[in-house]
């Protein structure tokens, strides 16, 4: 246990002991704009481009499919470039599925779930990573244990509870059961174990900061990239959640996924419109990616403990 004596942040990079525990160095470690230490060559770009194209292909193809008529999609050779029906199909999907209200609902639902998941996961993750308390390991195992329950069956008892509470068709039915996530707690714990030097916490304590202040000034800044990642993953998950919302909600007050189930009616579903709906349902996520992504790229460990 390195007990730091020089808690006052200095910019001396010199480290007397040979590689002690990670992070047992300047509390204000320079932001690792990670690659700082390495430059990318052409091979790197090639690899990334190949993987990106593979990743994007289904999304791009769904956009292509969304720009054709159903008849065109049924032809022997699938289309490989955009047709001229994109805006008609988008328009039809938007109106058919009543997507306006659904978007608004889903932003609210996924936003609430994301904020609460990230906040509570960071707090709990910090406690599990850096604090001492009784039954810590047992409780952590319990957290991990809750991740192991297969989700498909829980909808039956969950609906019993929701019906009892008379929350059917109301948004809290899809928000409250997923306000916290074991995945998030575990993720934050594993991240903070490594990324948050204990010395920073000690230094803050020495300065007489109470726990809340430590969380605000030390933990949150250190956890920011992980919070952004967790936020992103949670938002996507909440946005795409389908199995439970379809049981808990109806088309009168739907989330996007529930609204999209109304598309493609008839013995012959119009796949162009279905794809257009799917595309509309995915776009907000891409926007969210960019927003969260800036956070990840951006701040690492900036200004813990402004003295």
């Amino acid at each position: 246990m390195a007990s730091t004596t020089d808690v006052v942040a200095t910019d001396t990079a010199a480290e007397p002991e040979p590689a002690p525990r990670r992070g047992a160095r300047k509390p204000r470690g320079k932001a690792n704009q990670a690659g700082g230490h390495l430059r990318a060559g052409w091979l790197t770009y090639l690899i990334l481009i190949v993987f990106s194209v593979g990743s994007l292909f289904p999304l791009v193809w769904s956009a292509i499919a969304a720009s054709h008529t159903n008849a065109r999609l049924s032809e022997p050779t699938p289309p490989f470039w955009f047709g001229d029906r994109l805006f008609d199909n988008l328009d039809m999907a938007w109106n058919d599925a009543n997507l306006g209200k659904a978007m608004f609902n889903t932003i609210f639902v996924a936003g609430t779930i994301t904020v609460s998941t990230v906040l509570f996961a960071t707090l709990a993750g910090f406690a599990f990573a850096k604090l001492r308390f009784r039954a810590k390991n047992l409780l952590l195992l319990l957290v991990i244990g809750t991740m192991m329950v297969p989700p498909q069956l829980t909808v039956v008892p969950l609906f019993m509870a929701i019906a009892e509470l008379e929350w059917t068709d109301q948004l809290q039915a899809v928000i409250l059961p997923t306000m916290v996530s074991a995945f998030g707690v575990f993720f934050m714990r594993q991240y903070l174990v490594q990324a948050l030097p204990s010395e920073l916490i000690e230094a803050a304590r020495m300065d007489g900061a109470n726990s809340l202040r430590v969380v605000w000034h030390v933990v949150f800044p250190a956890a920011r990239p992980a919070m952004a990642v967790l936020g992103m993953l949670t938002f996507v998950l909440a946005w795409n959640e389908f199995f439970w919302p379809i049981i808990a909600l109806t088309q009168q007050n739907p989330t996007v996924q529930v609204a999209l189930t109304g598309l493609g009616q008839g013995y012959v579903p119009d796949r162009g419109v279905i794809m257009a709906g799917a595309l509309l349902g995915t776009l907000p996520l891409l926007i969210a990616f960019v927003l969260f992504g800036r956070q990840i790229v951006g701040g690492i460990m900036n200004g813990a403990l402004k003295g």
Partner: protein
């Protein structure tokens, strides 16, 4: 935030030693100061002792409110015969559902499939994610764009993915078979064969989850202090050695995390095999039916709530066994140098 350096403030070494009292005071403080100090130190003790519970309680409260009842209910249902059509009508069976699973060829078949698909999808996925994260950690142009691109599979709708993979793996009109035909190979009936269908599912899993894990690794990599790399390169470490001796050890907790989460995900694998043919039977001979699909089919198609609940608990127990195996493995390898997983 300015702070007064009160000597009485106990440092919380992460060892969490009991707050040390500033004993043997040389200069006599006034009564009031003593009181203040005592009050403060009491407050601190209290803060140290109880704040961790405050931090973890929201999770456990919500879990108790919305997670515990379904969990207990599922356990209760597993001991009964009941139909999904009328879940309130239950007949007590005790452990019969479990003994029945033990003799259920379809359960063992699903377990086997889950295992093989899990291995061939998880291992490459995590290795690729690690490599990609490392590469993304370089100084890059357009790194933001790459990150978004790699995460899109996780966000892409199931409907879109289904269409595309059906187009790729189709027997008569699929693009892969068309490409194979160009080089003179006979078309493959992907969905009908055991290993071909499992291979196809693995590619879907890998496509969907690699970027997700990449992002998790990347966040952890960015928290590795730069001077570790600097001192390593001063010592003449090559890129590979830096990756091997700096990056990987620093990522250990996160790697443990992804292994645990992927193991759970692989055990509960459900969406991707469902996507391949659109029905929960996992192929006409159940050749790619996973435990997740078997659970779904038993509960939501054949409507046997009690039996499905037993499968859910069997999966749960299975994961606990795997967890114990992991733990034993790390113990045997002797790598647990003070880092508990």
């Amino acid at each position: 935030m300015t702070t007064d350096h009160a000597k009485a403030a106990p440092p919380d070494s992460s060892g969490g030693a009991a707050p040390r009292h500033t004993s043997e005071k040389t200069d006599e403080p006034t009564d009031r100061e003593v009181k203040k100090l005592e009050r403060r130190s009491r407050w601190y003790r209290w803060d140290l002792k109880y704040s961790p519970y405050a931090f973890i309680s929201p999770f456990f409260l919500f879990f108790a409110a919305f997670g515990l009842f379904p969990l207990i209910y599922t356990g209760w249902a597993a001991m009964h015969q009941s139909s999904l059509v009328d879940p309130n009508d239950m007949t007590w069976l005790g452990l019969d559902n479990f003994t029945r699973l033990w003799n259920d060829e379809f359960f063992w078949n699903a377990l086997r499939n889950t295992f093989t698909i899990g291995i061939i999808s998880t291992v490459p996925q995590l290795l690729m994610a690690l490599g990609l994260a490392h590469v993304l950690n370089y100084k890059l142009r357009g790194s933001m764009a790459f990150r978004v691109a790699l995460l899109t599979p996780y966000a892409t709708s199931i409907a879109a993915a289904t269409l595309v993979f059906a187009m790729l793996y189709g027997r008569d009109y699929g693009m892969i078979n068309w490409a194979l035909g160009l080089v003179g190979i006979d078309p493959v009936n992907w969905e009908a064969g055991t290993w071909t269908s499992q291979f196809a599912i693995s590619t879907i899993v890998i496509w969907r989850w690699t970027g997700y894990n990449t992002l998790i690794y990347l966040a952890a990599m960015q928290a590795v202090p730069n001077d570790l790399y600097e001192s390593a390169s001063l010592d003449g470490a090559s890129r590979w050695q830096q990756f091997r001796y700096v990056t990987i050890p620093s990522l250990r907790p996160t790697i443990i995390f992804t292994v645990v989460v992927s193991t759970i995900g692989a055990t509960q694998l459900f969406g991707e095999p469902l996507l391949l043919a659109g029905s929960p039977n996992g192929g006409s001979q159940s050749q790619y039916q996973t435990l997740g699909l078997y659970l779904y089919e038993t509960g939501w198609v054949n409507l046997h709530l009690g039996r499905a609940a037993a499968i859910a608990w069997a999966m749960f127990l299975l994961l606990i066994i795997i967890g114990l195996l992991y733990w034993l493995l790390t113990r045997l390898v002797g790598k647990s140098n003070g880092q508990e997983a």
